[in-house]
């Protein structure tokens, strides 16, 4: 029994140390006065960089901050599918997503996310651009429909200069009448001879004629394909193609071919998009809010700890210790799982700190009852843990269910998909799960190891009087 307890204790200590390492920020500035000496020091924690069994593991853990904290822009776009045939809609929305991602990537925005969602009668794109401060530029990037066109290279201008200067590069291409409008769709196929992935283009009636004319007149030349005025592919015309079905070969791996086909489809199936929601926040407001929340949280935690000690004495102190471990584990888990921290998320985390001691309170109250019934201290402690467990389990299942409704992990479109609500739900769920561990396992181990029956001696003394 005692050996097992010590093993569990060592495990908890190890887990806490590892978590502490992950949870602490990279740099800690110390600035305080000690014995009238000003101490100013920066402690730097080295990032994880170890070699285990010949494999190098390198990772530095950062807390991901949501848009409401670090500032940025969130846009919801409605895709107008009126002109798109039912069977092409999935392809069209996927292409639109790809195009927006490509644009924001080219623009150099860090960690953009673009997701699609389908409600009962609408296709939507949700675009998150963290850290972007100029909304006009951002909206330009995401709010315009993709433009695909075919441009012929002028061989006379394809000089050495064209490879070094951007202007000269773009100048060597001349517009043709062929655009994305005449392209019906692009598909990835496999060349039956070489088994290499190729991209098949299919034009409509009008496109077939224009394409036939272009390919007849310009054999041997390059007919470049531009998306949003950036070159996407530069295939050379090998033979005249009269049936409106072209195949681009060479140089694609499967991933590349898929990617290019999706982007071609963005031009082939252009969907007008409309901004239906826009939220933007400057970085300063979020920062201010975080500082306030964290300060409020620290004060709250301090008060809860004092409260626990006042109520339960040494047991309260152990609950507080478990609470600190709870905090460390929570932050570490956020970092490892890459939970995006939002303001409601912080509120959720603080709320679960208030709830985390619930298990302890249930157990301690139960212990008191057992003691009152005349059980020995040790026995009362074990009974307290055992009997309280049922309540703890049942009560927390309800919270877990609510958290799951908020997180909506299966992406039901009849439930909320807002990042803020999900962020809160996720912190609630993680909080409940960790608090079960710290509130029950950690507290029990610490109590078995560190607490002895003090009431016994007192009782003896009072009896002898």
């Amino acid at each position: 029994m005692r050996n097992k307890t010590i093993r569990v204790f060592l495990l908890i200590a190890l887990l806490t140390t590892v978590s502490l390492y992950i949870a602490l920020p990279k740099k800690i500035s110390l600035n305080f006065k000690l014995f009238n000496q000003q101490v100013e020091q920066e402690i730097e924690i080295p990032p994880l960089d170890v070699t285990i069994l010949g494999r190098r593991i390198q990772k530095d853990f950062e807390l991901k901050k949501g848009l409401d904290i670090q500032g940025g822009i969130e846009v919801v776009l409605r895709a107008d599918m009126g002109e798109i045939a039912d069977e092409d809609r999935e392809t069209a929305i996927e292409s639109a997503r790809e195009v927006i991602l490509r644009r924001v990537d080219l623009f150099g925005i860090n960690e953009p996310t673009v997701t699609t969602s389908k409600t009962t009668n609408e296709y939507r794109l949700l675009v998150d651009l963290p850290g972007v401060s100029d909304p006009n530029q951002a909206l330009q990037l995401v709010g315009t429909t993709a433009q695909l066109d075919f441009r012929l290279q002028n061989p006379e201008l394809a000089t050495a200069e064209a490879t070094s200067s951007a202007i000269a590069f773009f100048n060597q291409f001349e517009m043709t009448e062929l655009t994305g409008k005449q392209l019906k769709r692009a598909l990835v196929q496999f060349d039956p001879q070489t088994n290499e992935p190729v991209i098949a283009l299919e034009f409509d009636e009008e496109g077939r004629e224009i394409f036939a004319a272009i390919t007849q007149e310009n054999v041997g030349e390059v007919l470049a394909i531009f998306l949003d005025s950036y070159p996407l592919a530069m295939p050379r015309i090998n033979t005249p193609i009269l049936d409106g079905r072209a195949v681009m070969t060479g140089g694609f791996d499967l991933e590349g071919a898929k990617q290019t086909a999706i982007q071609l489809n963005a031009g082939a199936l252009p969907i007008p998009i409309e901004i239906i929601e826009q939220r933007q926040l400057g970085a300063s407001l979020g920062q201010e809010a975080v500082e306030k929340s964290v300060r409020a949280g620290l004060i709250g935690i301090g008060l809860v700890m004092v409260f626990m000690i006042m109520l339960y004495g040494w047991k309260g102190l152990i609950a507080d210790l478990a609470l600190i471990i709870y905090g460390v584990l929570t932050v570490a888990i956020y970092k490892v799982l890459g939970v995006t921290l939002t303001l409601p998320g912080i509120a959720g985390m603080l709320l679960t700190i208030g709830m985390a001691v619930d298990a302890n309170i249930l157990i301690f109250e139960r212990m008191k009852e057992e003691l009152r019934l005349g059980k020995a201290w040790k026995r009362a402690m074990e009974l307290g843990f055992g009997r309280a467990w049922d309540s703890i389990k049942d009560a927390n299942v309800a919270t877990i269910m609510t958290a799951l409704v908020l997180i909506n992990p299966l992406d039901f479109n009849f439930l909320n998909t807002s990042g803020m609500v999900r962020g809160f739900g996720l912190t609630l769920l993680i909080g409940v799960l960790i608090s079960l561990f710290t509130g029950v396992v950690v507290t029990r181990t610490f109590m078995r190891l560190f607490l002895r029956d003090t009431s016994y001696k007192k009782n003896m003394r009072s009896k002898s009087k």
Binding site: T402, V405, L406
Partner: protein, 300 residues
């Protein structure tokens, strides 16, 4: 202690709290934020404003008259103002910013939100679905756990009791102080459901345990004993949650202040209702069931 002797008093207290809010809900309703109605919000920091320039509702309305139909203007800090109005596009917002720059010098656009009207309705539907799903899951769980329908139904009724109080108080807050109900409020409402049932389950759990130990006891004395034994735990636990939420509400900043207040109300009424609504409801259920049985017997 014979807590249940005064069970009518507890129902009366609940009614006294619920009724004003409920009336307010019917007459005034809730004050929905743009999350629900669609519309726009623009927060501006006037950094170059001079002392003799006045930032008033009238002056702002007059300057923006042509481009931006405003519904409210609030001060959010020194020289910082939150404008709310009809849904506007980014272009119109830019025009509004230009006008303000001309008039007041350099400004910083701190925050801009524009929600289309269709999204608002959708959020409302999603909210209701979320509440119904969460409530049904919890009811089924409680029903299965305690193997009697009356536990599930009473737990749900206590949950609605808490939701009504929260909605009612926010209806009053909206009417008198202009506090809006937004997406975060919905989250708080759902969390209140789980607070409520969390404590209720602890009480029911104790009733179940006692029922196993003393099968001959009447339900009233079982409930009484269970409430007596769990009350101090209930209060102590709530105090810790209330400490955290009160700190957040008081010091946490504007963005989550009312979220924290909503959670705080939920935590308090959740604690009250577990002991003083969910438990007596079990007895009420039993009384009604007894009377029905009697009537059937008499008819025979």
């Amino acid at each position: 202690m014979n807590f249940m002797k005064w069970r009518w008093l507890y129902f009366l207290i609940s009614l006294l709290v619920i009724v004003p809010g409920f009336i307010s809900l019917i007459i005034f309703g809730l004050k929905p934020a743009i999350d629900f109605t669609g519309g726009s919000l623009l927060e501006i920091n006037f950094i170059e404003i001079t002392e003799n320039q006045e930032l008033s509702v009238a002056s702002l309305e007059e300057s923006l008259d042509e481009v931006y139909e405003l519904s409210s203007i609030q001060q959010s800090g020194e020289n910082r103002v939150v404008l709310k109005g009809k849904h506007i596009t980014n272009d119109l917002k830019n025009q509004a910013l230009t006008i303000l720059t001309d008039e007041y010098g350099e400004i910083i656009e701190e925050r801009f939100e524009a929600v289309g009207p269709s999204l608002g309705k959708e959020l409302l539907a999603k909210t209701l679905t979320g509440v119904i799903i969460a409530a049904s899951l919890i009811m089924i769980y409680v029903w299965i756990q305690f193997s009697e329908l009356k536990y599930g139904v009473s737990a749900i009724l206590a949950m609605f009791h808490d939701s009504l109080i929260l909605l009612g108080i926010f209806s009053l807050l909206g009417y008198f102080y202009g506090i809006e109900v937004d997406m975060l409020f919905v989250t708080a409402l759902l969390t209140t459901l789980s607070f409520s049932v969390h404590d209720t389950i602890v009480v029911y759990d104790r009733i179940r345990e006692l029922r196993g130990k003393y099968p001959r006891y009447s339900l009233v004395s079982l409930v009484n004993t269970a409430v007596t034994e769990t009350l101090s735990r209930s209060i102590n636990n709530s105090v810790t949650i209330i400490i955290m939420l009160a700190a957040l509400a008081a010091l946490g900043g504007d963005t989550i202040r009312w979220f924290a207040v909503a959670l705080l109300i939920g935590a308090i009424t959740g604690t009250y209702s577990s002991t003083f609504t969910a438990a007596p409801l079990l007895l009420l259920w039993e009384d009604v069931a007894d009377k029905l049985r009697h009537r059937r017997k008499n008819k025979k």
